[in-house]
Amino acid sequence: MAARAGAAALGIAALVSACGGGGEEVDVDDGNGTSGADQGGGDGDAPAGTLVAAISAQPDQFDPHKTQAYASFQVLENVYDTLVVPDAEGEFQPSLATEWTTSDDALTWTFTLREGVTFHDGSAFDSADVVYSYRRIIDEQLANAYRFASVANIDAPDPQTVVITLSTPTPALLDNIGGFKGMAIIPEGAGQQTDLATTAVGTGPFTLEETGAGGVTLARYDDYWGDPATVEGVEFRYVSEPAAALTALRSGDIHWTDNVPPQDIEGLQDDEEVELGVTPSVDYWYLAMNQTRPPFDNRDFRRGVAYGIDREEVTEAARFGAATTNQTAIPEQSLWYHEYAPFEHDPDQAADLIEQTAAATPQPMGLMVTDEYPETVQAAQVIQAQLAEVGVEIGIEQEAFATWLDRQAAGDYDAFLLGWLGNLDPFGFYHAQHVCEGTSNFQGYCNPEVDTLLNQAAAETDQEARKALYDQAAELIVDDVSYLYLYNPDVVQAWAPGLEGYEIRPDKAINFETVRLPE
């Protein structure tokens, strides 16, 4: 089975050399490689040095099991590994596990682990580390514990094997344990022995070196199980101002940034000093109304609001065209996409529905947004203007994100705007947000029919049948306006011309393992 892993690694290497300009360079690489390999700086002809990446936000912490911040995962993506890892198409590929089998009843999954993997502290990786990592998430009830909801047991019969036993079939298991680095494998006991919030002990291509107020530095891990990274290190700098990030990119101070507001896309397309990457993401943005408060608990009122909103205009305002409107959560590019768009922008019907159900005329509605995500502030102002015409008077409540989250958790709001990022499986798109007791069901939605469908879908192993169940559930969720889906944004990133081997991905995972700096 090492063969399969080897093939996968070769695949990546081939991709890199193809991008890097062909076989000639690879030959030179071999010639120079011997002298410099011991120092760990010998990358042959590849320009040695550190890749500098500007990210817009500061990580809150580096414990992969505890953080929920995208900024943290941008760094951790390069430091930790998971058993399986999604490729750019969202299909799961071997990582720390080289192969896996499923029993006939779909209740037992057996993973064979990669040999010869070491953690950054030098200790060897084996099945005990996997069991420890997963048990930590489950037993300490950490943020991602829900991903193990159907897991009955995790066993390590031998050092290279992990067996996961399920209470119900869980086709989304690979996504649950490998969808992102929040499910990373840490060394046994690391939770107690090290301060994972500020340090990191992973198996990934880079080690976490220094963390400071201005940024984070990573160094190449030379004993990495795959091909060692091309660059010597990565420096993440926190640059909150988009103009500053772009200036730094143009002047060569940084090599890569994701701090590109959508309004800059048009101007950057002809800019020769900047390479621009734009691709549809798997994120979605939505409006949710508090269904424990009248009149927002009334389905007809919510449907009125749904008819009153012109998604095209909201999307254009918030994203400058760098997004696709959608009335469901899952984007067009996904194989789980279901075309369903029952709400045409229809102010007359909206006004009728709202007039019949509102508690007052006009109906006041607080709309909570956060400047952490400026597109919510822009979208809110357009929605405010649109709904004013159908009898809803929106009061925009702009909060700091921490306050925003507190109010969401306390149910202290009429409505809010936000997005979900990085989902791959429909379970991630719909389940925890819309089942009655869902951990992310802050809007108080409860439809027993949807519950049944979502629970069936979560355990359905036949992919077609599973998709049919999710499609039905999605239609009900959209019809009931549990979430009022708005759009799927594009990923927008920019890097220095000549930077090679970087792949912009729909799930916004930022991996610098195969990147080569410009000459």
């Binding site: 988009p242 103009a243 507001p261 309004q263 800059d264 048009e266 101007g267 205009e313 254009e316 305002a317 400047d371 400026p374 502030v377 822009q378 809110a380 102002q381 357009v382 405010q384 203007a385 925009i396 409540e397 702009q398 909060e399």
Partner: protein, 287 residues
């Protein structure tokens, strides 16, 4: 009598006339805002966004297609209202504290002035942000926050003047004639300490408007979609490469208004108390 004299003197200074004219125009703009604005300042029109200045939109349109000129006009009312109310709060509270502290002296003075010193020790902006963190963002709370921050300045200036006036012969005469504290303060002390307070009011208005702009810039002041110059500046910052007009016009409005209040304050100072000019320099400008 004295007021007319002051005005006559003030009109001898051309810069003061210009500053005064600008402020009168500003107040008129703020009052007539709705009828002056060519468009609805909050009406969005995304298909018409980021239009450069033209005859239809003199100051162009912003990222949601709103008319920048109408928003600048509407913003004048917001800025002046916040400035006036905030300074009103600090004026009333500060003068009261200063009068009591300066007139009674002893431990009352110590307690009140040390408390002001504590408030004064924090940088003004930090203090305002802290107050807003407790009260929550919004333009009403911004007025309160700015008002609190500027109170100690008025308290100090009033107290300093009261200390000297208190020892004047006419005050002692009034006291020996049997006048009560309230009457002495109201009839004899207060009228004689107004000059520096008026000057400080003018200058504080400038700083209050600037503070409101700064607080709105960081998202703690006026909330969307209401226009405020600081907020427009903050929104325009993200579009500076595509649409300079979004940030430049509100920026100019802040600049002109603050300059006008400052120039007027300076002129008032010259006119009201030329001899104290050097003594006042220290207290007037630093917030």
């Amino acid at each position: 009598m004295r007021g007319r004299e002051t005005l006559a003197l003030l009109f001898r200074s051309p810069t003061a006339i210009v500053a005064g004219a600008v402020l009168v125009a500003l107040v008129v703009t703020a009052v007539l805002g709705d009828s002056l604005a060519p468009h609805d300042p909050t009406a969005t029109d995304v298909s018409n966004r980021l239009q450069s200045p033209s005859t239809a939109h003199w100051f162009g349109t912003d990222e949601l297609g709103r008319d920048v000129l109408s928003r600048v006009i509407e913003g004048a009312a917001v800025s002046l209202k916040v400035g006036a109310v905030a300074v009103g709060i600090s004026l009333v509270a500060g003068v009261l504290i200063g009068l009591v502290a300066g007139y009674y002296g002893t431990w009352v003075d110590d307690v009140l002035m040390r408390l002001s010193d504590v408030l004064f020790a924090f940088p003004a902006m930090l203090m305002a942000i802290a107050v807003l963190a407790i009260l929550g963002p919004g333009s009403t709370n911004a007025m309160i926050a700015i008002g609190i921050v500027y109170t100690p300045i008025f308290a100090r200036i009033t107290r300093a003047s009261v200390l000297s006036v208190r020892e004047e012969v006419y005050v002692r005469a009034a006291r020996s004639a049997g006048a009560g504290d309230l009457r002495i303060v109201g009839r004899h002390v207060l009228p004689n300490v107004t000059a520096p307070i008026i000057v400080q009011t003018s200058i504080s208005l400038a700083f209050a408007i600037l503070s409101e702009a700064a607080l709105s810039f960081v998202g703690l002041g006026t909330q969307p979609p209401d226009p405020s110059w600081g907020r427009m500046l903050s929104e325009g910052r993200g579009f500076i490469e595509q649409a300079w007009w979004m940030a430049v016009f509100p920026g100019l409005a802040i600049f002109v208004t603050v300059l006008a209040f400052n120039v007027l304050g300076d002129a008032l100072r010259d006119v009201l108390d030329p001899r104290q000019r050097s003594a006042m320099a220290g207290t007037g400008v630093t917030p």
